[in-house]
């Protein structure tokens, strides 16, 4: 669907990036500020010209420097949501949306009503951009990009200029878009929390180079990703499914708790909105996971996953990161090096990974289906 290989030099900075997304979904471009994320999506959008390379979206070649192909930005059909919304100040919200719709280069497959509904813009239509809150402005910007009927939607840290509360207000809309539209998206962020909620695929950028890519589960274990997210946010991300019946391990899964099948194991996760069969994504923060060499008894902890140690890595000062295979899924636990020694942990040691249900949060997650366009 998306295939990008580009080179671009800008003064001292050199970008050399290459990534692809095979299925529809959300690719997150992840990396520290200044690593070239914005330059990379400007190249994809056509706002910047690549020195060398090839960009293909949905079977259309947009850039091929060897063949002299460079489709101008206005004919690429790539939606772009900027960090600062960039709504036209001389037009109302409705005017901004109509601007995109009237210039759409394809018959509308995303309709006016659908966009208004998905992003809840009905009440904002008559207002001017200055009369909107930061979160509202970003919603309008997303709606405007969608109405241009794009093949691909680029989002450049759309939540970065918002405070935590506003961010939390916009995120559900983005999740909804991902699940409802089957539109491939490239999401730029240096916040792993946002990526965890939205992405299917993560591309790690470092100093202008794409150094690693993979699905979010694998990338959450990557040492280079761990260094960027910081010790407190390190943790395995696992995708699971809400079980139809409470499993053997969690016969009590009722009320707000759901039994989630993860690999061959089960987790009890607070996810009141999710029905059986729903796909759910859970992050198990390494600092919240306890390692036991015996079956736990008399503990309040709800989740005890039997597994085998697969890796022991020295982490921060005086602590180790233990990788545990709990039935086809790896989880990470951060424990002190002293505890590693005392328990004699080494690859192959059978252990239980313990995690409190209350420290987990389940996010609804649907891998979108391919819709012909």
């Amino acid at each position: 669907m998306i295939n990008v290989t580009v080179r671009k030099r800008r003064g001292d900075f050199a970008l050399e990036a290459s990534f692809e997304l095979a299925a529809p979904g959300v690719v997150a471009l992840f990396g520290r500020s200044g690593c070239g994320k914005t330059t990379l999506i400007e190249l994809i959008a056509g706002l910047t010209r690549a020195d060398q390379g090839r960009i293909e979206v949905d079977g259309h070649v947009l850039v091929d420097t060897d063949a002299g192909v460079h489709v101008p930005a206005e004919r690429r059909r790539i939606g772009y949501v900027f960090q600062e919304a960039r709504l036209f100040p001389h037009l109302s919200v409705a005017g901004n949306l109509r601007y995109a719709l009237s210039r759409a280069k394809a018959p509308p497959f995303i309709g006016w009503d659908q966009v208004i509904g998905l992003l809840d813009l009905g009440k904002l239509l008559a207002r001017g951009p200055r009369q909107l809150s930061g979160g509202e402005r970003q919603r309008v910007a997303i709606g405007r990009a969608l109405l241009s009927q794009p093949r691909l939607l680029l989002l450049d840290e759309p939540l970065a200029s918002l405070d935590a509360a506003r961010r939390e207000e916009v995120l559900p809309y983005l999740e909804q878009l991902r699940d409802a539209l089957a539109l491939p998206m490239v999401y730029v962020s240096h916040q792993f929390e946002e990526i965890l909620r939205l992405a299917t695929h993560v591309v790690l950028l470092q100093d202008g180079r794409t150094v690693a890519q993979g699905d979010i589960g694998a990338m959450s274990l990557d040492a280079r990703v761990r260094r960027i997210v910081g010790p407190d946010a390190v943790g395995a991300v696992v995708d699971g499914e809400v079980a139809a019946t409470p499993g053997a391990a969690h016969p009590d899964a009722a009320g707000d708790l759901r039994c989630v099948r993860v690999g061959r194991g089960e987790l009890s996760v607070p996810a009141p909105d999710l029905r059986p069969g729903a796909r759910v994504r859970v992050q198990l923060l390494a600092r919240d996971v306890i390692v036991s060499t015996e079956a736990p008894r008399g503990l309040s902890v709800r989740n005890a996953l039997p597994g085998v140690v697969v890796s022991v890595t020295a982490d921060e000062a005086a602590s180790d990161l233990i990788g545990i295979d709990v039935g086809g899924v790896i989880v990470l636990a951060r424990i002190t090096s002293a505890a590693t020694r005392d328990l004699g942990l080494a690859p192959g040691t059978p252990v239980w990974a313990l995690v409190k249900s209350v420290s987990l949060r389940g996010h609804a997650f649907q891998a979108p289906a391919r819709v012909p366009r």
């Binding site: 706002l47 939606g79 900027f82 600062e84 960039r86 001389h90 280069k105 241009s148």
Partner: protein, 230 residues
Amino acid sequence: MIWLSPSERDALALSLGIALRSVAASLPFAVALAWLLTRRRFPGRTLLDALVHLPLVLPPVVVGYLLLLTFGARGPLGAALARCCGIELVFTRAGAALATAVMSFPLLVRTVRLSLENVDRGLEDAARTLGAGPVDRFASVTLPLILPGVLAGAVTAFSAALGEFGAVITFVSNIPGETRTLPLALYTALQSPGGEAEAARLATLSIALGLAGLLVSEGLARWMRRRFER
């Protein structure tokens, strides 16, 4: 207007008409040139910039003289214009409009340029990603955003055009009913015995017109500032 004599009224109407024609004719060129100077890098850009601003620092008589050389009956352009389109510029209103246009052109270009520099280029990029080509982008985003600035510039240039003296009198002379604009009428009144009262009336009129123009222009500039705040 009752207190103005017929000849004074003529001068006023003539001035307004000439100023209007001069601004209307030069505005598109000023916008195009301002766009070129802010958005494009090309060899000779600095020289072009200096040439546009030259009338600001030259004695107006020099501008009038240069116009006479170029557009006079035997001047290279003047002769060509007369032959192909029957346009006579020397001693005519059209010539007066040309002289005032050249003199007020730098003012116009400067204001348009200033507002162009204030336009957030990011908005033009946003328009691009929404499918707007270069002409569409200019018409639908850039122009509406600079419109208050363009209008403010036009009003200032109009006011300046009403008062242009040196270039007009040098290029098209001082013909009652044809090229005798307000400042020329004022000058003539001062030269004639007993013309003091007329001179005072015309001076008052000029002051009032100039003041009104500046006020309108300032109002437009404020509107523009509000427009760019986000």
